[in-house]
């Protein structure tokens, strides 16, 4: 589940689809919340967490006895994570991407690497749903390494629903890449349309098949639908704006539980995705 624009309802779709499938007892479901800057899916699925793991990046540690102050490390660092002042190396771990360049470049062998914490990944269980999310520590700029750790938890043999961060840049790519299918969640406003176009460009570049869900479909105009028609993008679900739905979301409850009539549309959404994925697999086979 991705979207260019934030707040269109990615988390709503992920959590309700997971709950609907769990309620219908159809298939084992896993939810991975990859919006590691602002993870929210746990607020709706309320998992019991049983495991937490720190995510670290390897950052340089300089042995001052060996360091000659030559400055080669800061020369090769593309991220300005090392500087030489007064013949001594100063490191800025928060700038470091953990590439290991300085360690390789140091002629004196004075640099080793130590783990630097950037966030956590937590795993839990929400009824029949397997759950995991990542969280970067406040002040840490680098989301993709944490996203990659969350995605490694994906079970091969079951359905994994991924809640991606908003936008179209590197954190989203890290979340969407290698998925079998991407649902783009949008709203029928000029913002929704503009950002949907960007998101469509992004998934096309990644080569991931996709379709659209329109949330709050009654608050806006028809430009998003016309755009999808023109581009041949299937619209798999529309959820109208309703103050009752908004209140359910506000409390942190799931639509399919409060309004059971929504279970069928969500199951239908899943069947449609399955159909599109298998159609594509057949086409690729031919």
């Amino acid at each position: 589940m991705a979207s260019g624009k934030g707040g269109t309802g990615k988390t709503t779709i992920v959590t309700n689809l997971a709950r609907a499938l769990a309620l219908a007892g159809k298939i084992p479901v896993q939810v991975l919340d990859c919006d590691v800057e602002e993870p929210n899916a746990h607020l709706f699925l309320k998992p019991v967490f049983h495991e937490e793991e720190e995510v670290t990046l390897p950052v340089p540690e300089v042995d001052n006895n060996r360091c000659t102050g030559c400055g080669r490390c800061s020369e090769v660092c593309a991220f300005h994570a090392l500087a030489v002042a007064g013949g001594k190396v100063i490191t800025f771990p928060e700038m470091c991407h953990g590439c290991g360049g300085c360690t390789i470049a140091c002629p004196a062998g004075a640099i080793s690497e130590k783990p630097h914490r950037i966030g956590v990944v937590a795993r839990g269980q929400a009824g029949r749903i397997d759950f995991a999310h990542g969280k970067i520590d406040v002040g840490v700029p680098l989301a993709p390494p944490v996203i990659r750790v969350v995605k490694k938890l994906a079970f091969k043999e079951r359905l994994t629903l991924i809640d991606a961060p908003p936008g179209t840049s590197c954190p989203v790519v890290a979340a969407v890449k290698d998925s079998d299918f991407c649902l783009l969640v949008t709203e029928p406003t000029p913002f929704g349309l503009n950002d949907l176009r960007l998101a469509v460009g992004m998934v096309r570049e990644l080569g991931v098949p996709f379709a659209v869900v329109i949330n709050r479909s009654t608050l806006g105009d028809l430009r998003v639908e016309r755009y999808c028609q023109r581009e041949g993008i299937p619209i798999l679900l529309k959820i109208p704006f309703d103050k009752g739905y908004a209140a359910t979301y506000a409390r942190g409850d799931c639509l399919v539980e409060e309004y059971p009539e929504w279970v069928t549309p969500f199951i239908g959404l899943w069947q449609e995705i399955e159909r599109l994925v298998s159609q594509r697999a057949r086409a690729a086979g031919n």
Partner: protein, 311 residues
């Protein structure tokens, strides 16, 4: 000169609509859109683009297949999994019968250049990467600096820094007193680049569990960089109980609530018509934004005085 940054943590709480509304109210200002991933402010302000400028992100490694000996050293050292075996160009090419060469997946390449350090054949070069554009535009509400990061690109933080630099330069040139900035969602790299050194951050939240959760994280982030925060609860009447919880949290955290904006269909109407709220409505939301701007002005003036007093 002061900088007011509008952020939210959670996306879709109404940052851009509020920035556009404030743009119609404030005087002597420059506008900046730092949501370079999915910029939307231009949709409401209808800019006439005056200059288009290229933005180069970090360099990307490129392997010359003619020089590559296929030793694989680059793949061993790359920690981002960006080096992969190249597909042979022609099945029956004569010169290289099954020679293994490598290539770089530019989507995964972080631009660290470690591969160039280790390649024994000197086959890898770092090449500049056009990663987006930034623009200076004229709008009916003052000059706007905005940008568009290329799809699936990185370095959004670097582009944000560029947008802010240009906004500051413009503000100085025009003797503007204020820069109003539309920030990106989240708390990661582009938000940090937007936040450092601003005068005041206006955190726009919504009365939902997610809005509150994300507000707390973005407030912590602002605290980390010592930026004062005022809070705006948008659509507060959609869930009054959650609004009260947020107000209680703000009270405990010592945060001022600059405004509470009621749900108003005029906001969506303004959006669909592509104009700032203030340009088309005198409804309840518009009056609440006006009241919020009045209180923000008082706070900014107070902060300016304090700053002058200290310097």
């Amino acid at each position: 000169m002061q900088e007011l940054l509008v952020i939210s943590g959670k996306g879709g709480t109404g940052k851009t609509s509020i920035v556009a509304a404030l743009a119609a109210l404030a005087e002597d200002k420059v506008l900046a859109d730092c949501d370079v991933d999915a910029a939307d402010l231009h949709l409401l302000l209808r800019p006439e683009v005056e200059s288009v400028n290229e933005f180069y992100g970090s360099d990307k490694a490129v392997i010359d297949p003619g020089l590559c000996t296929g030793c694989g050293r680059c793949r061993e050292v790359c920690r981002f999994g960006a080096v992969m075996e190249a597909k042979p160009e022609k099945e029956n090419s004569e010169d290289d019968s099954g020679k293994l060469v490598f290539q770089v997946d530019s989507l995964e390449c972080e631009g660290c250049g470690v591969c160039t350090l280790v390649c024994p054949a000197g086959a890898i070069a770092m090449q500049p990467n056009l990663a987006g554009y930034w623009y200076i535009s004229a709008t009916p509400y003052g000059p706007l600096v905005h940008a568009q990061l290329g799809l699936a690109e990185e370095n959004s933080g670097k582009l944000v820094t560029k947008v802010r630099q240009e906004a500051r330069r413009l503000a100085e040139e025009n003797n503007a007193r204020l820069i109003i900035t539309d920030g990106p969602p989240g708390i990661g790299c582009p938000v940090i680049s937007s936040l450092t050194g601003v005068t005041l951050a206006l955190a726009v939240t919504e009365p939902t569990v997610a809005g509150r959760h994300d507000l707390e994280r973005v407030v912590k982030l602002a605290g980390h960089f010592r930026v004062p925060v005022a809070v705006c609860i948008n659509k507060y009447d959609l869930a009054p109980e959650k609004s009260r919880e947020i107000e209680a949290y703000c009270y405990d955290a010592g945060l001022t609530i600059a405004g509470k904006i009621p749900f108003d269909a005029d906001v969506a109407r303004a959006l669909v018509n592509g104009v700032p709220l203030m340009a088309c409505s005198r409804g309840v939301a518009a009056s609440a934004v006006q009241a919020m701007w009045d209180s923000l002005m008082v706070r900014l003036e107070r902060m300016a005085k304090e700053q002058n007093g200290h310097s």
